[in-house]
């Protein structure tokens, strides 16, 4: 084992973190105990080491007392290792002559016994003091960054993020799996609480995306595989066939009129099956790109062969229809990725007591959005499946939310969109409207005022969750909603013509696959996890991959747009620097000891090791410092910066000294 580089002069700093640490750990005792450790020339405690005065203290002591190593015992390195390394560097010594000890998350927050927690803090600091003596001067690695960005998902989040980046002069690939961008927002009628029309505010942005020279839209496309690392992601994109040549089609829609199907027979996805479309169609009038798409499941050319091919005939001049199209792939390189893959609405038939799919009177909220929409299946008039207009309507909150049998979390938007639908339905039908809610959650700018407005409009608010929905006796076509009116303390049965289920928001069905593709994490509800809920809300644990919109958790349009802007700004800050600095904790090979056995090559999860002239060579840029090869090497030829054998053994000895 190597000897420490002389006997470096060590300074130890113990942070109170307000009362976070100081209430469970006796910091003064810890400070005194550290002072007596070999090599320690100075030991201090301070209320907030991360504050400016705290950092100044370190810088001052390095100059004043000639400190050569610094140990800070405070919170998790995830939070402030960067901060203290910066301070140490500015103090004039190598920033890696520093070791952080976590006595908050690993100690004060998880223990109650003050004596034991104090002893643990002493052990951890002793370990750090012993290890830091062996630290070598290191330089962070610098790698260049590809200035292009990929945005996955073309809803309002993806659109806003893409536009922000494109306006800043960055090249953006916008990947969308549907035939048009627009996402869920394009399906909505009005937006709460201002009641501006969703299409009126969304379609101008969609048009900007289409026209922007810096944005390349890839519709009907999905990300198949991601390799590489921050600054240099290689993304393989799969393009599904549209059977229409995008560059040739001008969106005249003559082919739709010419189709041999006189009427549509296939449920229209955009109207959630409330209307029918033809095999050749455009998802909705303002679709971007303005290009038709052919559904091979419905088109008879793909099943039996179409004798007439009237669509091809009518498009003879532009010749945009191509039945031969197949799946194609593209590989693009980008420096950063923004995931804006959105949500799916809760499948209401999972709760059979509400009768969705069984009782004609029952609709989901998203279906009602289409019903009230002027460009929807009924051109905005409220016509039920049986052709009638409702005179009484029940809206049931929390369908698939706040329910441990489905999703435990609150979906955040349902109270407000239910109020909005109550207002719109009242306006259009003057029906009696009953809202069944558990708690009315209206925390947002102008939300409570909107709630008051809907109350004034005469909507009945019943505090209680509907327990049962069943057909009224006598074949009236109406259904009865049975619920406890908890404020009145009685069970009520209310017959209505129409039921609206306020379905919650769930992760996309393939969120788990997406998570794996992009190497990020999902929380308990299945939504993507941000790096830190407060301080890094749009970052992920994978550098260069950012989150925007409802893929990170249920949220409304204002929050989604704000988050998309933040994700774009983070991505911009990353790629605009031109290069990034990476942790120098890489592994390296001691050539004379390497036998060329290749054990490490297969073990490396990042494919960073290759064999050159019979010896292992580690690509520093690819190495993530996981240490697998170091442990696996049978001849002990691989070492790792910041995790040298001496450093680890001294740390272990330090912890175990008193045992």
């Amino acid at each position: 084992m190597r000897e420490p580089n002389g006997t470096p002069r060590i300074g130890v700093y113990v942070c109170h973190c307000g009362t976070n640490i100081a209430s469970t750990v006796d910091v003064a005792a810890v400070r005194d105990a550290a002072e007596s450790l070999p090599g320690v020339v100075l030991s201090r405690d301070y209320k907030y080491m991360c504050s400016d005065p705290g950092q100044e203290l370190i810088k001052h002591d390095i100059a004043e007392f000639g400190l050569e190593r610094v140990v800070v015992a405070s919170c998790s390195p995830c939070l402030h290792e960067e901060t203290f390394r910066g301070a140490v560097g500015e103090g004039g010594i190598n920033p890696y002559f520093f070791q952080m000890v976590n006595i908050r998350e690993h100690d004060s927050w998880v223990h109650r016994d003050i004596a034991a927690a104090t002893a643990k803090a002493n052990d951890l600091i002793r370990a750090a003091v012993r290890r830091v003596r062996f630290h070598e001067p290191l330089e962070p690695r610098r790698v260049p960054i590809d200035p292009r960005v990929m945005v996955v998902g073309g809803g309002i989040a993806g659109i806003h993020a893409a536009l922000t980046l494109a306006n800043a002069g960055k090249q953006v690939y916008l990947v969308e799996r549907e035939p048009s961008i627009g996402g869920h927002m394009a399906m909505f009628d009005k937006t709460f609480p201002t009641l501006d029309c969703a299409a009126c505010i969304l379609t101008p942005k969609m048009t900007q995306v289409r026209a922007h020279p810096n944005i390349q839209i890839m519709t009907m496309s999905e990300v198949e595989e991601v390799s590489g690392f921050v600054g240099d992601y290689r993304v393989r994109v799969k393009h599904h066939p549209r059977f229409v040549i995008e560059d040739a089609c001008v969106g005249c829609l003559e082919c739709i009129d010419a189709c041999v199907f006189r009427n549509g027979k296939t449920p229209d996805e955009f109207n959630l099956g409330l209307s029918k479309r033809k095999p050749i169609y455009i998802p909705f009038p303002q679709a971007v790109p303005q290009v038709v798409v052919i559904d091979p499941e419905a088109c008879i050319e793909f099943r039996a062969g179409c004798r007439k091919k009237t669509c091809v005939e009518v498009c003879a001049e532009r010749n945009a229809i191509d039945f031969q199209q197949e799946v194609t792939y593209d590989e693009v390189t980008v420096g950063a990725i923004i995931l804006a893959t959105g949500f799916q609405a809760f499948e209401a038939s999972r709760l059979p007591q509400y009768g969705y799919g069984r009782l004609d009177a029952v609709y989901t909220a998203l279906e009602v959005e289409r019903l009230v929409n002027a460009s929807g299946p009924t051109e905005g008039s409220i016509v039920l499946r049986d052709g009638s207009t409702p005179t009484s309507i029940g809206i049931i909150h929390c369908i698939g939310s706040r329910d441990k049998n489905t999703n435990e979390y609150c979906s955040r938007v349902c109270c407000m969109y239910s109020l909005k639908l109550a207002h719109l339905l009242k306006e259009k039908t003057d029906a009696e409207i009953y809202e069944f809610y558990i708690d009315m959650r209206t925390p947002g700018k102008g939300f409570e005022e909107f709630y008051n407005r809907v109350e004034e409009e005469g909507v009945h608010f019943i505090r209680g969750k509907v327990a049962d929905v069943y057909p009224e006796a006598g074949n009236t076509g109406r259904v009865v909603l049975q619920a406890e009116d908890t404020l009145a303390g009685m069970v009520r049965k209310i017959p209505v013509d129409m039921v609206v289920l306020a379905t919650g928001l769930e992760p996309q069905p393939d969120a788990e696959d997406v998570r794996r593709t992009f190497n990020i994490t999902c929380g308990s509800g299945g939504f993507f996890t941000e790096r830190h809920p407060k301080l890094a809300p749009v970052s992920t644990f994978t550098d260069g991959v950012f989150l925007a919109g409802a893929c990170q958790g249920p949220k409304d349009i204002p929050d989604t747009v704000a988050q998309a802007g933040a994700a774009a700004a983070e991505a911009l800050a990353l790629i605009d620097a031109g290069h990034i600095e990476l942790e120098p904790n890489t592994a390296f090979v001691v050539e004379e000891r390497c036998s060329g056995c290749r054990t490490c090559v297969g073990m490396c999860p990042f494919s960073a090791i290759s064999i050159v002239d019979g010896k292992a060579v580690i690509n520093e840029v690819l190495c993530k410092g996981c240490g697998t090869c170091v442990a696996a090497c049978p001849s002990g030829a691989i070492r790792q910066n910041l995790f040298e054998d001496e450093e680890i053994f001294e740390e272990i000895l330090g912890v175990l000294t008193h045992v």
Binding site: D439, R463, G464, A467, D485, V491
Partner: protein, 197 residues
Amino acid sequence: MATEPMIRIEADRDPEFAAWFTGLVGEEKLRECIHCGVCSGSCPLASHMDLGPRKLMYLAREGWADDVLGSNTIWLCTSCYACTVACPQQIPVTDVMYALKRKAIEAGKAPKRHPVAVMAKQFSRMVHRRGRMSEAYLIAGLALRSGVHRYVGMLPMGVNAVRTGRISLKLDRIRRRKELTALLDRVEREREEVAAS
């Protein structure tokens, strides 16, 4: 019109009852009740209950012991489990009912000669002694202890049930009854020990 004071003071509350109740296995979930009312809404007998399951559970967890143990709600519960299935917080509502029935009997608060309470008692006594249910004797015991007049109208149906073999007049029992009795006594003793600690 007579008026009674509607205000309750904190001294009327029984925190020990609340602590006992929420301390039962499974009942700690009661603290998570969000008062959506789906239990009362789904209860087929809520229309005849004074409190209904939601109010009953709230009063129980807050320690209003007299209101809870004196309510008819616990005796009307038929254990159909509709509330338990529907509860978004997965509170075992039916188990709550059983725990409270037991407590009411122990506290002498069970309504005298109430058929549900009498039936429960008869049932457990018969199982305890004989290890098997003999319906004819169960019904007879129930009728004698809760008032014969209640069952006069059902007599023809009872006769039919006996004639078609739906109810046997034989007094059944298991072999090695003593072992079962010892087993049940042991359970009861342990339960009491747990309750005492």
